[in-house]
Amino acid sequence: MTDATTTPWTTIPSPNQPFAPAHPREAVPGGVGTNARRPDGIPKVKGEFAYSSDLWAEGMLHGATVRSPHPYARITSIDTAAAKSMDGVRAVLVADDVPGSKVYGMEHDDQPVLAWDVVRYHGESVAIVAAEDPETARRAADAVVVEYEVLDPVVDPEFAISGDAPELHPGTGNITRHVKIRHGEQDVSAPVVVTGRYEMGMQDQAFLGPESGMVLPGEDGGVDIFVATQWMHVDRGQVAKCLGLPEEQVRITLAGVGGAFGAREDLSMQVHASMLALHTNRPVRIVYSREESFFGHVHRHPAWMEYEHGATEEGDLVYVKVRVLLDGGAYTSSSTAVAGNAGRFSIGPYECPNATIDSIVAYTNNPPCGAMRGFGAVQVALGHEAQMDKLAAKLGMDPVDLRIRNAMSQGSVMPTGQVVHNPAPVRELLEAVRDAPHRELPVVAEREAVDIRQLPGGAANSTHGEDVRRGVGYGIGFKNVGFAEGFDDYSTARVTLSRGADGPIVSVHHAAAEVGQGLVTICMQIARTELPVGPAIVLPADTQVGSAGSTSASRQTFMTGGAVKQSCELVRDELLVRAAEHVGVARDGLRLADDGTIRNLADGILLDDVTELLATPIEVEREFRHRETFPMDPQTGQGNADVQFAFAAHRAVVDVDAGLGIVRVLDMATAQDVGKAMNPQQLEGQIEGGTSHGVGLALMEEIQVVGGKVRNPSFTDYLIPTVLDMPTVQMTIMELGDPEAPYGVRGVGEPPSISSTPAIAAAVRDATGVDITRVPIRPDDIVFGASEGRSSSGA
């Protein structure tokens, strides 16, 4: 429990605060820095919040999707006659029925709306049906007869790019992108060298609200789409192209989103339901089951990483050589951005004068991979952190001391040549987690005294303390906030100050997706702070206002928050002009005070109520852009590719049942620089939730892909952490601030997911002495040791 005045975490002021805090004044009630309540909280606890799977319309039909059972096959025929003849079936559509472009994609248009010639992954969409009820729709989908000529799937990304594999996308060599970074000298040697190979499995976002939405056919021949998504405007562009409609005839409104974590960046049912709605001229709802959801979105890229670190005898990094191979699966999705991140962040937040980095993402016949919280940076953090521990062991140094010795700081140079010109508190974060108090932990040696619920395996009664070993491990990571490599990244906000029944009211309209993270609260808080003249409301997000960009890359508080702040400031300027005219004084020197009064230079109240200035509303819509970024040189990777970096560190304490290979995470301590804690309670929730994704990735979460087929598409077989698996997270929050960001904010969503996983892997190594090189860590990795070569993906 927290309120505006107390927080359970420690706040560390900047050791070298480079600028004055953006907002030194006391918080406005409900404004920035307070624990303002989520405006959607009450409907959510009452069960009244309308998620995309709860929508209903008079006369609506239900859609279902026919999916490929094969990872790679040629379609020889599709027979829809039996399905069409079923009672209650209103449409059965295939690729020939796609009115516009038959392919779509966020980066490349390479993914079929419905496959027509070849299917390239298990679960690919082949046909769609609409029927009067969901059960009939499912049965009709089953009645569509698709004949396939089954082909040998390409499932090993190394083989895929070897030149010997069939090309899944002609002319690519199955290489989606190869990022090369050449920094400093390329042929250097060092007295101390450590090498390692590391592997990460395929994680799923596992949001709880399944892909779903409803499409209403419009009288103008267009569509009105209500869907849970992360970026409505990019959805709109893709949908319009596939439907052959102008963008203005595709209107999208955000329906309630049950979590996202990257999985809703790509289209799922948007085009399908639109085609069915236009074909039948009736509303169409599609709701995926959990099983279908595993086939309906992209996953986190599995990665195979080879590292070589060279250092001096004193522990200074001399060079790092990295090769990262990512499995992008059948289609591009956001693979090129993931590979870019994996390259740029591959050596971690450390200074190193020389680096040779190759980050390659391959096409295969495995499930398509794309965005998931922390993408690119999550994979390589396992590698760079394991290497730092290995190097520390070889040098006989403390692992935290070695990290601090090489820690990046403000002014450090990235492998891309980019100077880190904002605070980079790597040392401070490491010291904070190292010095965090150790909790009183259950003692495992005394069999009789122990509560088995606190041991590995818990109430499963698998140990009473025998062969249980404790370990402590550290991890740190960083990532860019916002879109990189020259992308024109912006957000739009329309702010209206008008006269309501009870006085002035501020309404904020933007298209940014609230996915649970609490952006809707933050925007309300910003409006309260900048225009403290009355209540602030945030209108439903839709495409009737300009693009907000994606709810991803930890960017929305920075970008849409920045857009709201900027528009509010312009509204305030106009309000002061009107006040000056109204009272008959000069505009200069007037200000809007936190109590909603307009004051002059002497702080005298000129107007205590602005209502009379609002005979006509004041409305401003503006785009907000962050500092320009630039592409990476294709041969050397050099370039100022990133706008902002965000850092987090974790310390993990684990108990391991070394006999059974079961791990229990006892304690997680984390430290993160957030720039500005906009809403402390929500911030804590982001850090705790992000840490839980890292716990899951370290210990249990993996989509099992065998021969290109997904073997565990359910919550019975794909495990995410329960409340029994998650420890309480101790937090140290730093507010160093980025002077170029509104209020100094740094993105906070992704960093906790980056450093938590390597910390747990390190703790398991510390507990057992086993060289853990792969996550998720499987019991047999611990019991039988080295895990290399026992890949779960691949044939």
Binding site: K46, L208, G259, Q454, T716, P721, M726, T728
Partner: protein, 170 residues
């Protein structure tokens, strides 16, 4: 088929229910009560938790026909004197920050309401075991545990808001 049951204190009849339907589907599609959520529909996530004759069940695992003649309490039946008319457990979730995307929230609220009627002052270990059938992907669970502690404290101290619906109250 036709199913007659009590839902949130009122007798209701659902007509034309598909015989293969679950209680969850019937609540959501036939009775207009979408508060219970459809996250996994195989009893793993607890998002559809409701009380049937006072017992906590996953509505997705109960056949609609099995609910005939039974008393079902859903999240829509929990109301009280809290903010916007919410009950005490709901108020605790709001105050503790236990809601993010909210898809798991109705199920958690029913499970916590049930826990606190069975065990008014649960230890953290007891709470964790009791809620281990409810998945949350957003919060990492700590704020949900805070909500349980807060709701229990308020009931013990008599400061909980008046609440109707849900489990049997002391």
């Amino acid at each position: 088929m036709k199913v007659t049951l009590r839902v949130n204190g009122e007798t209701v009849e659902a007509e034309g229910v598909w015989p293969g339907a679950s209680l969850l589907t019937m609540l959501r599609d036939d009775l207009g009560l979408p508060g219970s959520k459809n996250a996994c529909e195989q009893g793993e996530c607890g998002s559809c938790s409701v009380l049937m004759d006072g017992e906590l069940v996953c509505a997705c695992l109960v056949q609609a026909g099995q609910a005939d003649g039974r008393d079902v309490q859903t999240v829509e039946g929990l109301r009280g004197d809290g903010d916007g008319g919410v009950g005490d457990v709901q108020q605790a979730f709001l105050d503790a920050g236990g809601v993010q995307c909210g898809f798991c929230t109705p199920g958690f609220i029913m499970a916590v309401d049930h826990l606190l009627t069975q065990e008014p002052e649960p230890s953290d270990e007891t709470t964790r075991e009791a809620l281990s059938g409810n998945l949350c992907r957003c919060t990492g669970y700590e704020k949900i545990l805070d909500a349980v502690r807060l709701a229990a404290d308020r009931r013990r101290s008599g400061s909980a808001v008046a609440t109707t619906g849900g489990g049997v109250r002391r």
